[in-house]
């Protein structure tokens, strides 16, 4: 099973990031990847963000590196990164499609990712090229179970 969002720790005297034992406040209609990106299920265009579990583990986000509108992504492609004080965390696309929108508010206010990861702090919108991929993602319940299993 792939690991949850893993970012490159600082090189040298390594400071591997500790896994916070947090419970997520999950949106009831969302779908989750094992990498803690979530997508509220709507037709055609999906919003992508990171889960509460991920934003808590990451710490305060100080900078968001997001792709340009029009970027074509395959599932699991790296599409950006979130910078915390300590480390860089790469973001992997949960779905294949084209980036239609990026959250411009994050340029001035990257902390929105922490404060409101499911709404104002969402990251990008993707027009799906393969909606069947939605079925491969985890439901809220499954995600909670997954988190518990990796915490052990």
């Amino acid at each position: 099973m792939a690991l949850p969002v893993v970012w490159s720790a600082l090189a040298g005297p390594c400071l591997p990031w500790p896994w916070g034992l947090t419970s997520s406040a999950l949106l009831s209609e969302g779908k989750f990847t094992d990498k803690h990106e979530w997508i509220p299920t709507k037709n055609g265009i999906e919003t992508v963000g990171i889960s509460n579990f991920a934003q808590e583990a990451l710490g305060d986000v100080v900078y968001c590196s997001l792709p340009e509108v029009g970027t074509k992504l395959n599932k699991q492609d790296e599409f950006g990164a979130l910078e915390s004080e300590k480390a860089t965390s790469e973001l992997y696309s949960p779905l294949s499609g084209e980036v239609t929108e990026i959250n411009e508010a994050l340029a001035e206010n990257p902390g929105l990712v922490n404060k409101s990861c499911y709404e104002d702090g969402c990251l990008i919108k993707i027009a799906l090229s393969n909606p069947a991929e939605l079925d491969e993602l985890m439901s809220e319940e499954a995600c909670e179970k997954y988190i518990k299993s990796i915490e052990e």
């Binding site: 490159s8 600082l10 090189a11 040298g12 005297p13 390594c14 400071l15 591997p16 990031w17 500790p18 916070g20 710490g59 305060d60 100080v62 900078y63 590196s65 990164a81 910078e83 915390s84 004080e85 300590k86 480390a87 860089t88």
Partner: protein
């Protein structure tokens, strides 16, 4: 009051090859991480423990990294730095031993032990004793005021880089050194292991004091322009390259009697090939291993440490560039996630230091 050059704090040395006598290892075989005398104390205070240089240490507590960092600059923070073991050097030839190591890697005990044996074989009178003490760093503008409440000595008479033995909050035989790794005024207190928790508890009773971990320690020292051994300096860098020529004593330079002297003195006289510089940029943070380029796009160096500066709200970093690019103000590029960002060579410290010096 004795003058003591605390290289450990200034160079941020990391220990390797530690004697097994100390460290209170875990009872289970899984991870042989050493524990300081404050291990349980850290857990009790919400410390998030990580493995660091073979030790289990708190990376942060309940406050966020940035909050902890800023608290240190505005009030004071208490750090457990007991992983930097302390050694007593004994014998008539102890100065000879130290001088054979200065401007070398003095925190590596294995070479020390070899050197001790070498000198002993030559008939020198010297031996090493690892001291069973914890080391607590209290750092920040209110650190001295907090400590003063627990010591009889007048701390106004203990300037930066001096040291004295005193009773601290009822614990006798503590060595207090006016030094640290944050750029702020502060002390490092060497306390017998058995009394470490008592002392940490006493210090924490003052509302000015909060516990801080490795995360804040790293961003604080970076803002202060202090090196991290293993990242910014290592066995392949000289003090001249590392912009640390100030560590070379005048007498030693003339005598040319320290490890690497022939290389180092030549660099002092002529030009040095590369130099450690400070860098600042906006946009995405520069991190270790980010390439540094000149404005023509040619790779000329590498970042060795970097982070967003909580105080400056800009990104700061250290790295090595060829001598001709090392002047403050030189525009450069740093590659972050395949994008080239404008950066500028900056003087260090990035944030003004507040060392307590008598003038």
């Amino acid at each position: 009051m004795q003058r003591a050059v605390n290289m450990v704090a200034q160079l941020g040395l990391r220990l390797q090859a530690l004697p097994l006598a100390l460290g209170r290892p875990l009872s289970c075989a899984q991870d042989v991480l050493r524990r300081t005398p404050l291990y349980d104390f850290h857990l009790a205070h919400g410390g998030k423990m990580v493995a660091f240089a073979g030790w289990s240490l708190p990376v942060q507590y309940r406050d966020s990294h940035v909050d902890s960092h800023l608290h240190t600059r505005r009030h004071c923070s208490l750090f457990d730095v007991s992983h930097m073991l302390q050694t007593k050097i004994l014998g008539c030839d102890r100065v000879k031993l130290m001088e054979s190591l200065v401007v070398g890697d003095i925190a590596e005990l294995r070479p020390n032990q070899d050197k001790v044996r070498e000198l002993q074989n030559e008939g020198s009178d010297v031996s090493l004793e690892v001291v069973d003490n914890a080391l607590l760093a209290l750092q920040g503008p209110t650190a001295a005021q907090v400590l003063q409440a627990g010591v009889a000595d007048d701390l106004r008479k203990l300037p930066f880089m001096t040291s004295a033995v005193m009773e601290v909050f009822g614990v006798s035989g503590c060595r207090v050194t006016r030094c640290g790794y944050t750029g702020e005024d502060g002390v490092e207190i060497s306390v017998p292991a058995a009394a470490a928790v008592h002392l940490a508890t006493a210090l924490l009773e003052n509302p000015e004091v909060k516990l801080a971990g490795l995360a804040a320690r790293d961003s604080l020292r970076l803002e202060a322009g202090l090196c991290l051994y293993g990242s910014d300096i290592d066995e392949h860098t000289t003090p001249v390259e590392g912009s640390l020529s100030w560590t070379l004593g005048k007498r030693r330079r003339a005598a040319v009697d320290f490890p690497g002297a022939s290389v180092i003195v030549a660099q002092l006289k002529g030009k040095v090939q590369r130099r450690r510089v400070g860098l600042m940029c906006e946009g995405a943070p520069m991190r270790a291993h980010s390439p540094i380029l000149n404005t023509e796009g040619t790779v000329i160096g590498t970042v060795t440490s970097g982070c967003p500066s909580p105080c400056l709200k800009k990104n700061v970093a250290m790295g090595y560039v060829p001598y001709e690019y090392s002047r403050p103000g030189t525009p450069l590029l740093v590659e972050v996630r395949r994008k080239q960002q404008m950066a500028v060579v900056s003087k260090m410290p990035f944030v003004t230091t507040n060392y307590y010096t008598l003038k």
